[in-house]
């Protein structure tokens, strides 16, 4: 990616943080399973945005770049700590509004990371498998398979002509 030598201004940073922090936080929370680590990962992602100062084609490109960096940041954080994520049940309790939602969150957070990523990118960010493949640097076939396997693990019922077709 072409690098810019000019760092974003405070206004640009504020705009970027306000627009994307929620999306990144959702993704990082799904991967790291607690709010503290998610906040850290989101901050680190924005640090990289400042340090790298990439030139983006458009907002979609920027969002995809930030999501990819967030995924890698979460991966590095886990590697650094030599341990798997610590699921904070208080956080889940506070996020979920009903018992069924709590159970769903619990199931998603217990999935292996590679399935969490595709589930999140497809169901929350609305990406198709081709786009997911680009973000995660995997083949479209692998993205499709992962999404299918994640659905199977979650015993997810999905309608014809619905998200499956989009994917």
């Amino acid at each position: 990616m072409k690098q810019s030598t000019v760092r974003p201004t405070d206004d640009e940073i504020e705009h970027t943080v306000k627009i994307y922090s929620n999306s990144l936080f959702k993704l990082c929370f799904t991967l790291l399973c607690n709010r503290c680590d998610a906040e850290d990962a989101v901050s680190d992602t924005f640090f990289k945005y400042i340090t790298k100062s990439p030139v983006f084609r458009d907002e979609e490109h920027k969002k995809a770049w930030l999501l990819r960096v967030a995924v890698n940041t979460c991966k590095d954080m886990k590697k650094f700590r030599f341990k798997h994520e610590t699921i904070n049940f208080d956080d889940i309790h506070n996020i979920a509004q009903t018992e069924p939602e709590r159970n769903i969150l619990d199931e998603v957070l217990h999935l292996p990371d590679k399935y969490k990523k595709v589930i999140h990118l497809h169901y929350i960010e609305g990406y198709q498998t081709k786009e997911i493949a680009e973000i995660l640097s995997i083949s479209p076939a692998a993205a499709r398979k992962r999404l299918q396997y994640a659905r199977d693990l979650l015993k997810l019922e999905y309608g014809k002509g619905d998200s499956d077709e989009r994917a």
């Binding site: 940073i13 943080v17 936080f25 503290c36 400042i50 998603v108 929350i124 979650l154 019922e157």
Partner: protein
Amino acid sequence: MKEHELQQALDNIQISLEEQQRILFKVKNYNNKRECYKMSKKKICLVAAAATMVLGITVFAASGVIKSWNSSSSSIPDYNSLPTAEECMQDAGFSPVLIQSFENGYEFDNGSIVKNDLRDESDKSVEKFKSLYFRYEKNNDEVTLTSQKYVSEMDITGENAATVGNIPLYYSSYTNKAVPANYKLTEEDKKAEENGELIFSYGANEVTVSKVQNLFWEEDGIKYDLMQIDGSLTKEELIDMAEELINK
């Protein structure tokens, strides 16, 4: 499970305004690299921002190659009991002197692994290393012990307060003023900062002033820092604790 139920459950994950503001502050601070800290004053930044994950960004206005010191760790302690030498070696790449409790009654409470990144003027990483940050407690009075190993050269500040064996101990004390992110320095503040009487930490909810004491020494290539904020320990007691560690 149905798709809309999954989407609803995941959509409930929302960043709070407070979390977003903390991130914004940290990110802006990272961009601007405010020259509000000096090398020996790093640890106070760690404490001031401990509730958030990025512990501090220290800018060294006067040092040579190293211009900033970025530290981060989990706000959840990595150790709830004193780690073994093997664990330290695995987690941080070195094994410091380990002590469960000091003779004056301070007992190990918990500890964290801190990631450090030293950067030069062009913001290139010069050296990355991990520190071990242990908290000791006695009757709600806390003292922290940081051990770390790095090769970059830094100026040592503080007075040579004592020598144990052939190891010199350097003591410094100062006043820290933790202020909100949008705090504007008064003329009096600016003057006190210039004189080195006050060190400012940004990002606090309200203005608080703390007395900080710091004792530094180096043994077998490992740098140790004993620090207390608003505690009851005297300089002599800190020296005794350092002596206990060195003689262990």
